[in-house]
Structure formats: C-alpha cells, structure tokens
C-alpha cells in the first residue's frame, strides 16, 4: 500500500477536471503507468471508495471527489 500513490491520485481526481473526465470514460487507461498495487488499482477501477479508504485513502478526499464521493 502506498499512501502517497493513493492519495495523490484522489487529489488529482478531485482537483483536475480533465483527468477526472478521462477516468470516468476509461478508468483503466487513466490509471495506466501509476504506481499502484493490484488491490489499489482494482478499487479505483471499481470506484469503490470504501475500499480506497481502507487502503489508505484519506476520508475527506473519498467523501469529496465530484461524482465519485462516498457519503
């Protein structure tokens, strides 16, 4: 688990509207080349914010990424 990789990705999803649109269109392609574990990659591809939080994603990010936020 990489706290940095997971959270920098969440931060980018929150703040970078273009990247978020690419992720929403094709998550696998948007995540290509990122330094994620298989579990982290699977959680993001599944938009599973609960799992992402369990894997170290900060709560305030998983609750506030537009369109993906858990409440």
């Amino acid at each position: 688990m990489s706290r940095y990789a997971v959270n920098s990705l969440l931060y980018r999803l929150k703040k970078d509207q273009d990247f978020r649109a690419r992720f929403e269109t094709d998550a696998r392609a948007a995540l290509a080349g990122l330094d994620l574990t298989d579990a982290e990659r699977a959680a993001f591809e599944a938009r599973d914010m609960r799992k992402i939080n369990e894997l170290g994603g900060y709560l305030h990010l998983v609750m506030s990424v537009p369109g993906l936020a858990a409440h």
């Binding site: 939080n53 506030s64 369109g67």
Partner: protein, 281 residues
C-alpha cells in the same frame, strides 16, 4: 499594548442543508441553533472593534496537496481567496455562496511568522493557499452581512499523520499570545472544527461520535484545566474523532488560563456540534 479581545471555538460545517441531508430534520434544527449562537458570538466580537481575527483551522486536503503538508502554516500576503471546487460535493458545497476574497492583516501575520521562527517554531508560510469551509463557514456565520476584519489564517495539520502534538499546538498558541501582547492591535482568535466525528478517519465509522470524550474535553476547558489537555496524545484524538481539537489547542495556548463557557453543544450521529467562548479578563 495589544490584547486578545475575543476567543471562541466552533464546529465548522455550518450549513442547514448539509445537515438535513446527513441527519434529517434533527440535523437542520441543531445546526441552526448552533449557528445562532455563533452569530451572537460574532456580535460580541464585532462590539470589541477588533483590528484582526486570527482563524486557526485545518486543511481538508484542499489547499495543500501531497507536494507538501505543513504542520503549522501562516497565511501571509494582503488577501486570501476562497477555495473553489468545480461540482463541489458535501462540505465543499458549503462554500459556494460565500464571498471570494478576504483581506488579511499582513503585519500581524508577518510578526507571528517571523517571531515564531525566532522563537523556535519552524512555521511554514504561504502566499497562495486558499481557505476552505474550515475558515470561511465560521467567519461568515459570525459576521453575517457585517464587514469582516482582516484575517490571519493559520493551518494546523490535523489529519495527515504525523501531526503536530497537542502540546506543540498549545505552545504555539502561547507564542501567538506573546506576539499579540507586544503589538498595538485588538485581536480576536477563533479555532474551528469538531467536536468528535469521523473516528479513525474511517468511512465505515462515519456516523459515530464520542460524547463521553467530548464532555471530558469540555469539562477541562470550563475548569481552565489545561495541563491534561496538553497531555493528550495524537493517537487518542485519532481514535475518538477529535482530530480538529488540535486547532482548539492553539487557541487554548493563546488564552490560558482562561475558562471556557459552552454556548452550544448538540449531539448528532454525524458529529457533535459545539460553540464555545472564553471569558477574557
């Protein structure tokens, strides 16, 4: 000689619609009551004819990316902007109707920063970081349509481990008090956030609070017993969902040994709402 003329601490998501969605009618009713008390605190603050308002709050991974996460950061410059978030969700949406720019008290901020470095506090500084709901929700609730005095925003890293210790935050508050006392200004200080919510920052535990721990903190603040508060551990705050109490610790250092008066305390499943004011001599 300068003086801290007002000190208050309060929850910082102050939005009836947010709590209606999160907690139903009870949420709306309680946050509305809490906001009314905070507005009255704001009226008392304005009546002191202050020169500046120090706002001690935390960043919700908005202003600071994982490029750098400062333990303690002073916002310097002449103005500060409201954080903007496209398609804002949850607590970010609270900001949408608020003014976009606020004046800063440049001299006071610079003195806190520069004298802090001299005193051994390795403070970060920012000319650009925007402020989110943690700063602006209380400030706007306090002032309503009245003018807001120049601000000194100060961030405490409440969430990204390793955080500064409660003792360090308290000691930084003592530093702020010394700077204010040495200056010519009448200054208010607020700390925002809390009380207990989001224990362990776990999504599974959203909806849990720790009222027993909240009441213990309140008891110590009311009694002016600051030593047990200084001895709190960051792990303890993490487990109980009191992360943002680090902001309150800075305020406590600034006003010690003053005693707190609770203006509002209300239990909700999502968070225990609070508004507290200190009696200053």
């Amino acid at each position: 000689m300068g003086k801290i003329v007002f000190a208050g601490a309060m929850s910082h998501v102050l939005d009836p619609d947010y709590y209606q969605r999160a907690c139903g009618d009870d949420g709306r009713q309680k946050v509305t009551a809490c906001m009314a008390e905070i507005a009255r605190m704001g009226e008392r603050f304005t009546a002191t004819r202050p020169d500046a308002l120090i706002v001690v709050a935390d960043d919700h991974l908005n202003a600071f990316s994982f490029n750098a996460v400062p333990a303690l950061c002073v916002r310097i410059g002449r103005t500060v902007q409201r954080m903007k978030q496209d398609h804002a969700e949850a607590f970010d949406a609270v900001l949408d109707h608020m003014p976009e720019e606020y004046p800063l008290h440049e001299d006071l901020a610079n003195q806190i920063l520069e004298k802090g470095l001299d005193a051994g506090f390795d403070l970060a500084m920012s000319w650009e970081a925007p402020v989110d709901h943690a700063f602006l929700s209380p400030v706007n609730t306090m002032h309503g349509t009245r003018p807001i005095p120049p601000l000194v925003p100060i961030w405490v890293n409440s969430f990204v481990a390793p955080q500064p210790t409660p003792r360090r935050c308290f000691d930084f508050g003592r530093h702020i008090a010394r700077v204010v006392a040495a200056g010519p200004w009448k200054v208010g200080i607020i700390a925002t956030g809390g009380l207990s919510h989001f224990p362990e920052l776990s999504l599974l535990r959203v909806g849990e609070t720790d009222t027993v721990f909240d009441r213990k903190l309140i008891h110590w603040m009311e009694a002016g017993k600051h030593e047990p508060l200084r001895n709190l551990g960051v792990d303890e705050l993490h487990k109980t969902g009191e992360h943002e109490f680090l902001n309150w610790m800075v305020l406590l250092g600034a006003v010690t040994p003053a005693r707190a008066q609770v203006r509002y305390f209300g239990e909700l499943p999502r968070i225990n709402l609070a508004a507290v004011e200190w009696s200053l001599s």
